[in-house]
């Protein structure tokens, strides 16, 4: 079976054609350099994505009286994975993140999930809030 992919390793964006051989290996054409072959292998055999999302924040209690209303507007805390996540697990990870509620204060780099599913992926706060 033939698969078409666009290599995104560099801005040239080569159109790759990939043929799966009988032994399971891939034959790549259309690449202008060897990095295209690596990209095709990663994309077809174990695609991964960095995941960014936002999670619900429980503000309130610790907040002083002089906090401005607009500061409280930040209802969501931005988060990201510490490493790329297997693509097929991204929806599951997102579902788990949407169920989380984080108590303020939180510091950039705090781990909200550690070693998720034993994959060595942490989910980190990407902003300091509260």
């Amino acid at each position: 079976m033939k698969t078409e992919l666009t290599c995104i390793t560099c801005p040239l964006g080569c159109s790759l054609s990939i043929e799966r051989e009988a032994d399971g290996s891939l034959t790549v054409s259309g690449n202008r350099c060897p990095r295209g072959i690596r990209y095709a292998n990663e994309e077809l055999l174990s695609p991964k994505r960095m995941v960014t999302a936002t999670v619900r924040v429980l503000s309130g209690s610790g907040a002083g009286h002089d906090r401005l209303a607009s500061e409280l507007m930040h209802e969501r805390l931005p988060v990201r994975t510490s490493a790329a996540c297997p693509k097929e697990l991204v929806p599951e990870l997102l579902q788990e993140l949407y169920k989380l509620t984080v108590n303020l204060p939180v510091r950039r780099g705090d781990a909200l999930l550690s070693n998720w599913r034993g994959l060595g992926i942490d989910v980190l706060a990407s902003r300091t809030l509260g």
Binding site: C10, P11, L12, G13, P78
Partner: protein
């Protein structure tokens, strides 16, 4: 009215404003930053995706992380930071400029300074700017506004979305909307190629099987109270093919049709605008046509990478400091955008020092050639593997290349691609 005096004031506390202010402080000058929002960081705070900072920090960061890193570099400075404060008026007719600001906390505030750095960023083009006919229902947002709603405020603007324009913000929002559980039915682009980066087309559209209609125009937005659909018409050989028009049902339309520098204040202060960038006309010190007013970041020209914004802003801050201490640009040569180049910023280079120039290609091309001409003589040519309008290019030209223009006040430097 409270009145305060500084050597310099920076308008806008995004990446550009923070970076420029830090340089002014480092030069031993007193400096204030005025920011309309409650926190510093600007547009970065709503860009929760990653891909920021590869050049500046050698790491891939999210927008908020990048903003916080830059903000942290301000600790230990003596900067006066006014957040939640909007500059309403800029009077630059006299040597000491006055900024009239308003904030809920301080009321009306007048800041006086001899130098002002403009770092107000840009805003999005909206439906009015691109004139899509049809009804005026609810559910039409600019992509950046939707981004703010989803990522900062926690609202989802609709369930079934069509995105008009394939700029990076629209592409990034296609992925975000998909990730928060909405269906993105299509991205519609009038040009024959995507306006955003290939990387974003692949990871934000292909990953979710979102069709990208190139050479298609959105000819109508349909719906009475709420958006019900959009009519899309293909363009073939430069003409609309109405027989092939089709409709996509949706309840939300996001517009990603370009950004315009936010220059109302600059114009009212008498700054000349370059029609190609929508930003100020600047000299080799990034100073506008009004002496003592400098500009950097997206208010000068729209950048695609925040790393370049920070680099340019540092230069503006450093130059403003030098200017305050009496430095003036030496001999300069005018810079012109040649074939296949939309614009070059700044519009002047100095002969006696290195100049960093940013320019934007007009075409998509592999194996292109960048040519720099001084008075029609090629003084430099560089091979470029790939050029496209969504990727800004840069080049450094110094005394070695420019000395031939010494004593020739009418010299012109031209940057072209072929």
């Amino acid at each position: 009215m409270k009145e305060l005096a500084f050597d310099a004031v920076v308008i806008g506390g995004g990446a550009a404003g923070m970076a420029a202010a830090r340089e002014l402080d480092a030069a031993g000058l007193s400096c204030a930053v005025v920011e309309r929002e409650e926190s510093l960081g600007g547009i970065l705070l709503q860009c929760v995706h990653n891909g920021f900072g590869l050049i500046e920090f050698n790491e891939e960061l999210s927008g908020p992380e990048f903003a916080e890193r830059v903000e942290e570099s301000l600790s230990g400075t003596k900067l006066a930071v006014f957040t939640g404060t909007t500059v309403m008026e800029l009077d630059a007719h006299t040597e000491t400029k006055s900024l009239f600001c308003y904030s809920a906390r301080f009321g009306v505030l007048r800041l006086n300074a001899r130098a002002v750095v403009l770092a107000m960023g840009c805003r999005e083009r909206n439906r009015g700017n691109i004139r899509i006919p049809g009804d005026r229902p609810a559910g039409v947002y600019t992509a950046g506004l939707a981004q703010r709603l989803v990522n900062v405020e926690g609202y989802i603007p609709g369930k079934d979305t069509v995105i008009i324009g394939s700029g990076d913000i629209g592409l990034i929002m296609a992925r975000r909307m998909s990730w928060v559980g909405c269906k993105v039915h299509a991205v519609v682009e009038i040009l024959p190629y995507p306006s955003g980066l290939t990387r974003n087309v692949v990871q934000c559209l292909h990953d979710f099987n979102i069709p990208l209609y190139l050479s298609h125009l959105t000819t109508r937005i349909i719906g009475k109270e709420r958006v019900e659909g959009v009519e899309i018409t293909p363009i073939e050989n430069g003409a609309l093919v109405h027989e092939k028009a089709f409709t996509i049902a949706c309840d939300t339309v996001l517009l990603s049709v370009g950004l315009v520098p936010e220059n109302e204040l600059s114009k009212s202060a008498g700054v000349e605008i370059n029609p190609m960038t929508g930003g100020a006309q600047v000299d080799s010190m990034l100073m506008t046509t009004v002496p003592g007013l400098f500009a950097c970041g997206n208010v000068l020209h729209v950048h695609d990478l925040v790393d370049y914004v920070v680099e340019e802003a540092r230069r503006a801050g450093r130059n403003a400091a030098l200017w305050l201490k009496g430095a003036r640009p030496g001999s300069e040569v005018r810079v012109k955008a040649g074939p296949n180049v939309r614009y070059v910023a700044p519009g002047r280079v100095r002969i006696d020092a290195d100049n960093k120039l940013y320019f934007r290609p007009l075409v998509v091309k592999n194996d292109a050639l960048l040519e720099v001409r001084l008075d029609n003589r090629v003084i430099m040519s560089v091979k470029k593997n790939h050029i496209q309008p969504s990727e800004m290019q840069s080049i450094v030209l110094g005394p070695k290349e420019l000395l031939a223009a010494q004593g020739m006040p009418d010299s012109v430097l031209e940057i072209s691609l072929r």
